[in-house]
Symmetry: C2
Subunit: 335 residues, 2 copies
DNA sequence: CGGCGACTGAAGGGAATGGTTAAGAGGCGT
DNA sequence: ACGCCTCTTAACCATTCCCTTCAGTCGCCG
């Protein structure tokens, strides 16, 4: 499988004809046909068949078309980026778990780029198990992830000995629900507050963001430890959306205490008393050791423990200016 | 630039040594060194330099390491997917604008997979200008996007003649704010409702999700048409988060009317009367013409106009079951 | 300063890639 | 049935890739 072969196939898939692809690439038809033939042999799939008015991709051909277009485009983009690396300012890729990438990283990086305006940041949202791999593969410069505050609760991740870890903020996770939801279950209400034994957790309906059940995070570990499984949870496109559904009274959610301060004060959400909560966690930054790390990564590692950084995390996020905004990229695991 | 060369460089970057990379790849050191030398020449960058205790990547080397790991992993994953294409059920990639991908597509696809349980769906969030390209490149099977309801308001997108377009739902966009926010500006309050002339829109602070200013969407076009620019808007990680900030009284937002029904009824949000609103839009599905389209894409194109689909969009979303959930992937443009 | 380990370069060869022209095979329309 | 257009295969060649062995150079460390 060669980039040239993939380029040829992309052209065929897009234009619907070997001839047209050959013309657009400026080569002969047999060259295109040959490239496709190699792919066919190697992948064991016809990829496309001749049909009325052109060609029809097979199921495998459709997937290859999508993947090949992605690969070819990415190769081109990478080439361009390397060429311009010197001209551009430095780049900083921050990997985090889904929830952290949504709630913690944006205000943190906003404060960071305010102090280092020349740094271009990108956020990657990944399963917690992928964070170490991403750092080792140099696909990310720094990882931000929450871990259980209790020592020894989490086994060492792969490459743990080669990574530097910097804890910088304690967080508390609480179970929240709409007061109306609480009021609808008077059997456990005491003093206006809903009490819930842990044995009942898996009978409740949970409203979570993507990765809310990730067992590598303190929140996901808490839920799975108490038997909350796939059948008990609904996933929303974002943690904010899940909290919105909780406000609407659709079920329970798990939230970082200081991030729902406003909702609690306004009374649109209330904390549900559950033994074992609040779940104590610590946010920490991970990166390669100092000599194998980019300057921007080192700057962020120093920054996270500063009062400025902590303050940016404790005040409610006001969003980021449009020109600072870089979308969070979801990264797939393939290893 | 060859996949083999990229693989060699990934190993070097990860292991921090040509020798270690050669061993891990099962080839000789000169082979690795040679592969790197070709990349160096082609890209015009040292990529890495020898340093105490190993090597240090240059800025360009860091970007290449990230890109190369991505490309190599993607190639491997694509190969696997093509091989298994026959075994797996059919796949359906749905592209949409940011807001649509967050608010419209999840309930729609949830209803769709309930009827077609064998289909694996993926959602792609992209700028509106990329939707057509994605379909033509076969990177997406179906595009879901909102367009202005007024005919002729939008110029024909590239490839417009070769795509089939299926409108399926009218939507209304309204300006919303917290009632407290409204009350704080008594100069334009009339009958308890905030009225705002269009000339004042660019003086307000806007709370938007990613892509909220995308001029290819009715909402983004409305805002940019009235002078709302980068300086007037804060971007949140999701539209839900932006609405949450609006509830907190931080500014104005633009929302799909029927999706904020609950907030309006509870009084946590109120509609701001602005001339020209509600903005009328139509959701439509786009796909390649029937004979060049996958069976799953055709099924979705038929599905969107059914009462079941419309109902799924009009009732408030309850999230999707965990086992149906597939994260939304943000796709970059490189063309 | 000498030795040693690690990276780089040169030379060479086998295999593939990537291209050509020419001819065959297969579907579609008239 | 026939011709036409398109895709495929065959034969062939130049180039590049990719690996080897061997020799050289660089930097670190005792």
């Amino acid at each position: 499988m060669t980039l040239t072969q993939l380029r040829a196939f992309v052209a065929v898939a897009r234009l619907g004809s070997v001839k047209a692809a050959a013309i657009s690439l400026g080569i002969s038809e047999p060259a295109v046909s040959g490239a496709v033939a190699v792919l066919r042999r190697e992948l064991g799939d016809r990829l496309f068949v001749r049909a009325a008015g052109g060609i029809t991709l097979t199921a495998g051909g459709r997937r290859l078309a999508a993947g090949a277009a992605e690969i070819v485009g990415l190769a081109e983009e990478t080439r361009r980026q390397v060429r311009q690396a010197a001209a551009d300012g430095s780049q900083l890729r921050v990997a985090a778990t889904e929830t952290t990438a949504e709630q913690i990283v944006p205000p943190l990086l906003e404060a960071f780029v305010r102090r280092h305006p020349d740094v271009r940041t990108t956020t990657l949202a990944v399963p917690s198990t992928a964070l170490g791999e991403l750092l080792l593969d140099r696909r990310a410069d720094v990882a931000i992830s929450p871990v259980a505050a209790e020592p020894g609760a989490v086994a060492a991740a792969p490459g743990a000995d080669t990574l530097e870890r910097i804890p910088f903020l304690r967080v508390q996770l609480v179970v929240v629900a709409s007061p109306r939801h609480a009021g609808a279950r008077p059997d456990h209400v005491d003093g206006g507050r809903l009490h819930l034994p842990v044995g009942r957790l898996s009978r409740e309906h949970w409203l979570l963001g993507p990765g809310g059940l990730d067992p590598g995070t303190p929140g996901g570990a808490f839920l799975t430890r108490h038997g909350v499984g796939d059948a008990d949870a609904s996933v929303f496109p974002s943690t904010s959306a899940a909290l919105g559904a909780a406000v609407a009274g659709d079920g329970l959610s798990l939230a970082v205490l200081h991030l729902v301060r406003d909702e609690l004060r306004r009374g649109t959400l209330t904390v549900v008393a559950v033994p074992g909560t609040p779940v104590n966690g610590v946010l920490r930054a991970s990166a390669l050791p100092g000599d194998r790390r980019s300057p921007a990564a080192s700057a962020l590692c120093r920054f996270v423990t500063t009062p400025t950084a902590v303050r940016s995390l404790l005040t409610r996020s006001t969003g980021v200016p449009v020109d600072h905004y870089r979308p969070t990229v979801r990264v797939s695991l393939w290893s």
